[in-house]
Subunit: 329 residues, 2 copies
Amino acid sequence: MRSDIRFGILGTGGIATKMSEALPLVEGATMYAVASRSQQQADAFAVRHGFEKAYGSYEALINDPHVDVVYIATPHNLHFSNTMMCIDAGKHVLCEKPFAVNAREVHQMIDRARDKGVFLMEAMWSRFLPHIIHAHEIVQSGQLGDIRLLVADFCIHRPMTNPKDRKFNPELIGGALMDIGIYPMFLAEFMLGSPLDQVAMAGLGVTGVDMNCSAVFQYPGQAQAVLYSSFLAESGTRAAIYGEKGTLLFDDFWFMPGNLRFVDAQGKETSIPFEKIGNGYQYEAAEVVRCIRTGLQQSEFMSWADSIRLIERLDAIRHQCGIVFPGHD
Amino acid sequence: MRSDIRFGILGTGGIATKMSEALPLVEGATMYAVASRSQQQADAFAVRHGFEKAYGSYEALINDPHVDVVYIATPHNLHFSNTMMCIDAGKHVLCEKPFAVNAREVHQMIDRARDKGVFLMEAMWSRFLPHIIHAHEIVQSGQLGDIRLLVADFCIHRPMTNPKDRKFNPELIGGALMDIGIYPMFLAEFMLGSPLDQVAMAGLGVTGVDMNCSAVFQYPGQAQAVLYSSFLAESGTRAAIYGEKGTLLFDDFWFMPGNLRFVDAQGKETSIPFEKIGNGYQYEAAEVVRCIRTGLQQSEFMSWADSIRLIERLDAIRHQCGIVFPGHD
């Protein structure tokens, strides 16, 4: 009998909660430990979600020999150092997006994981949602013909009530691009591959981070992707892929579990529904279990090369927008 | 009793047809003359639409002393020379968009009109549609609060069956930007004013013109406009203006007569319907009649400054995209 993969989570924020709600749906995964910088917070979180262990420091969790894989759900600025610490302790790692602040850091993380023989994956959870996988299959199948245009956004109004909040704090690698703009950028990279070139523009807020960030990607054969993100506006957060032979439309909040609609060249619309199970984070966790059990160091679905491609794109966009993170860049 | 303003139309293409269908709705306007390079085509068009005169050359129409105002509905490459010829003949001019190929040409047209004391206006017909005017009033009124994001597109699939077609022919100033991309660019300029800066990207097709062209405009206070156009994809051709206190949504094909929807911060949607009369071209024609009767040389609603602002924006976008029109630029 195979033993379960024991998950440890660093952090007790919103994303840690999402994963904790999803893990019970994952066969072969055990909610083992959670760590916070505050023992009290770790204890409360462990009780609420049913973890066996609660640690008052990240180091304590990482040094627990029973932890198989660490899910890094800490603020963006800690992804790199936490990942490195876990790898050095011989732990497998699932690290929240953005994987790190820039390509240099991502390369270091990957090199270290390769050397240490551990599994490492960026927690780009949308990549593993059934409707996103199906959309990718449709694009690959040629059903849409040549792809001409991809439009995706992630705009959600986040009033800056607290400038120290991680979303607005440059020291915590805040800003729209790294927090939410990464999703549309990922979708374009995933569906259409790397563009020939891109232009991007951002509006920097009072704290120095980007309050909005938009980009246009240009592909061979003239296809374009139009991608935008904002903390200032509440838009539909939609995605659409326009091809020669039809259009694929995603439900609102396209990056979350949802449905697809296919509109053919004559305008006839067909719904492609998907059963909605849990919050959707279980799919990436299941992939972690599968990879670790198979002895893989990377997933072929969100590979190291995929993460390098994505962070290099973000680096280029940030450079064009003048978004700099001191101490990293 | 005031006599009617007698319209002469240069060209017998699609846009000349639209104007000919609209003119009967305009009080004080007479469909007087039409000119084509072919007498036969001019005759057929005049009979079909009820013009008094049909000329087999543009010069003949321009030299008819009974023509008060010339509507220039010729291909883009002729807008400048036709306008100059009309002004020199002492005619008032309504010239299709793009007003000319670049700001240099637009400045020359305006200088000449000023010197000759004639009326001159760019035929940006959407500017005069009731729902667009109302949207502008809503934006100005502060009902939306600070504007954070404007998204507008114009994407219509135009297969390149004939590369010599004006839409694809660089000599005829083809390309998505000058033909359809100008509409979203105009909307942003009209609603939000000139941006601080913009980035743009285009995919150039086999004939050298842009098959798609997208831009991001950045405004003070971090607002952005995301604007895209394409001959390759059939998108919704939608527009939306997102503000601090609500969103203004335009019906599909936002640049044509249509309705508005207002969505407040709580998500409550209110429809703002508009009576649909004719094809909508009558509104700009009525403005021409009003201005000429009032003795104005320019409309305050689509002023010379407005046209200069727009063409300067298009120049900047073309420069960023590498779109060049030899013989003009």
